[in-house]
C-alpha cells in the first residue's frame, strides 16, 4: 500500500530539479566564500589560499570605515531587535490571548504592513516623513525605521508559538491565586522563550541586512555595513568586500541555524 502510494506521488525529474534548486541557491554564496580566501590582488585569478583580505578588512586602509559601519550595524540591530521583540510580544499577547475584538483585523493589518508595502516605498515614505518633521537624518532615524519594520518579523514566530500554548497553564496558576501579571511573567513567558528567541534572531538579521530603507534614511556620513558595502561595490567588486561579505553571511547563517534548532528542540519536548 505504502509502496504504491509513493509511486503515484513521485515524478521523474523532480528530484533533479530540487538538487538544481539547491545548487542555484548555494553556488553564488559558496563561490564568493571561496574567492574571499584568494591570495591574488585581482578577483579574477586564483593564486592560492590566504587570509590577507580578512586581515585587510581589520587593518587595511578602509578598516576604519568598516569598523564604524560594523559598530553601527550591530548596535542598531541589537537595539532594534530588542525593542521590536518586546513590542511584538505585547501585541501577540493581545492578539492571541485577547479574545475576539473589532479592531483585531485592523491591528493585524497594521502589524503586517511593512511586509505588504514594497520596501522601496517604505523607504521613500520614511525619508519624506523625517524630512517633513525636520528631523536630522542619522543614527536615530535608522534605528527608529528598523524598529518599525522589524516588528512583523518578530511577531510571526512569537504569535505562532503562543497559539501553540494552551492557556490552561495560566488558568491553573491564576486559580492558585497568581495575579495575571505573575501568570504572564512566570508561566507564559518561560513557555514562550523559544518563540521569543527566534523572533529576536529573525528581527536581528533583518535589521543587520537591511540596505534599501537604511540607504534612504541614513544621514550623510553615517554608514551601516550594507551601505558601506554598496558604496564600495559601485566602484567594482574588490577582494576585501568578498571577505567582509563572507563574515556577514556567516553571522546570518549561524543566527538562522540557532533559531532553527531552538524551535526544533522545543517540538520534541
Amino acid at each position: 500500500m505504502a509502496h504504491v502510494n509513493n509511486d503515484i506521488k513521485t515524478y521523474t525529474g523532480f528530484r533533479a530539479i530540487t538538487l538544481l534548486c539547491l545548487v542555484v541557491l548555494y553556488a553564488p554564496l559558496v563561490i564568493v566564500t571561496i574567492y574571499s580566501f584568494n591570495a591574488s590582488q585581482s578577483i579574477t585569478n586564483w593564486e592560492g589560499i590566504s587570509l590577507r583580505w580578512y586581515a585587510d578588512v581589520f587593518t587595511g586602509p578602509e578598516s576604519g570605515k568598516f569598523k564604524t559601519a560594523a559598530f553601527n550595524s550591530f548596535t542598531i540591530a541589537i537595539i532594534a531587535a530588542t525593542a521590536s521583540t518586546a513590542i511584538a510580544t505585547l501585541a501577540a499577547t493581545a492578539m492571541v490571548r485577547g479574545g475576539t475584538f473589532k479592531l483585531r483585523t485592523v491591528s493585524f493589518g497594521l502589524i503586517s504592513l511593512p511586509l505588504m508595502v514594497p520596501e522601496i516605498v517604505t523607504a521613500v515614505a520614511t525619508l519624506i516623513f523625517f524630512n517633513a518633521i525636520g528631523f536630522t537624518r542619522g543614527y536615530m532615524t535608522i534605528l527608529v525605521a528598523h524598529i518599525a519594520f522589524c516588528i512583523p518579523f518578530a511577531y510571526l514566530p512569537i504569535s505562532a508559538r503562543m497559539q501553540g500554548i494552551e492557556d490552561s497553564f495560566e488558568q491553573a496558576a491564576m486559580d492558585l491565586y497568581a495575579t495575571r501579571r505573575q501568570a504572564f511573567t512566570r508561566i507564559l513567558m518561560p513557555l514562550m522563550a523559544p518563540g521569543i528567541i527566534s523572533g529576536f534572531l529573525l528581527a536581528f538579521i533583518v535589521s543587520l541586512d537591511d540596505f534599501i530603507i537604511t540607504n534612504f534614511v541614513k544621514g550623510a556620513g553615517v554608514e551601516t555595513l550594507p551601505t558601506a558595502i554598496f558604496g564600495s561595490v559601485k566602484q567594482g567588486i574588490k577582494p576585501n568586500i568578498m571577505a567582509i561579505s563572507t563574515m556577514l553571511l556567516s553571522v546570518s547563517v549561524v543566527m538562522v541555524t540557532i533559531s532553527y534548532f531552538v524551535s526544533k528542540s522545543d517540538n520534541t519536548k
Partner: protein, 309 residues
Amino acid sequence: MAAGAASGGSARADTYKDARGWLLLPSWAVLGIFVLGPVCMMLVYSFLTKEFRGGVIWEFSLAAYDQFFFDRGLFGDEPPAIEWTYITIFWRSIWQAGAATLLSLLIGFPTAYFIATRPENARPMWVFLITIPYWVNLLIRTVSMKFLLRDQGPLNDFLIGTGLIDSPIHIVNTNFAVQLGLFYSYLPFMVLPVYAAVERYNFSLSEAAADLYASKWTTLRRIVLPAVKPGVVAGCILVFVPSMGSFLAPDLLGGAKNFMIGSLIEEQFKGNAGNWPFGAAASMVLLTMVLIILMFSARQQAKADKAGG
C-alpha cells in the same frame, strides 16, 4: 503566510481581554507613526509642487502624475500625449518581475512538491536548507550573483573549461541578468507556500485518478495543480511583488539600460533628478498596483477557503 498567523489556534483564550488596549498600544504607535503615517504623507507629497534641488513647495499640484503619464512637449505647452518613458519603465518592471516569477515557478514547484513528498521527519530539514539563503543579506547575494556571472567570472570559466563554449557569454548588464537576480532573490518565497499547499494535499485523490487510468502527468495537471492552486498563487505574489519594486538587482546586474521602477524612484530622492513629488507619485503608482494584486489574492484565498469548507 500572514493569514495563517491571524486565524486562531485551538487554544485561543481571552485572559488578557481587558488589557489588550495597552498591550497593542506600542505596536499601534510605532507602526502608525513610522510606517502608516509616512505612507500617507508620501501620498500628500505626490500632490505638491517640486522645489529645485529636492524638497517641496506646499502648493497643490498634479504635475507629478501629469509628468508620469503625459508628455506635453519640450516647453510643456503642447496638447497632452501619452508619456511612454515612464510607462515603459513600469512595463519593464512588470515584465522582469513576471519572468522572474515564471522562472521561480518552474524550479520552485517541483522542488516544493519533492520536499512535501519526503518522509515527514525529513521535511523540516529540506525546508531549512531552502530558507537559509533567504536570510543571507540581499545585497551580498546580488553581488555574489554578479561575481558569478561576470565575463571573466567562475561560470564562464567553468563553461569554457568544459569546452561547452569558446568565448564568454555576456550576461551581466542584460535583462536576463536582472531576471536571474530577481529569481535568485525570491525563489524561497515560491517554494515555501507551494510546499505548505502540497503538504496538505490529500494524495488519495491522486490514487483515485490513477485507478481511473489517468496518467501521472494528467493527474498532476488536472488533480494536483487545481488543489494546490492557492499555494501557487501565494508563491507567485510573494515573488512578483518584491521583484516589481526591487532596486538592487536592476542596479547591480542590469546596468543603466535596464532601469526598473525602483531605480526611477531612487533617482528622484538620492540621485541628480531631485524631484520629490514625482518620486512620491511613482511610489504611489507602484503601491497602488501592489495593493490591487494583494486584494485580488486575498479574494482568491477567501474563495479557496470557502470551497475547501
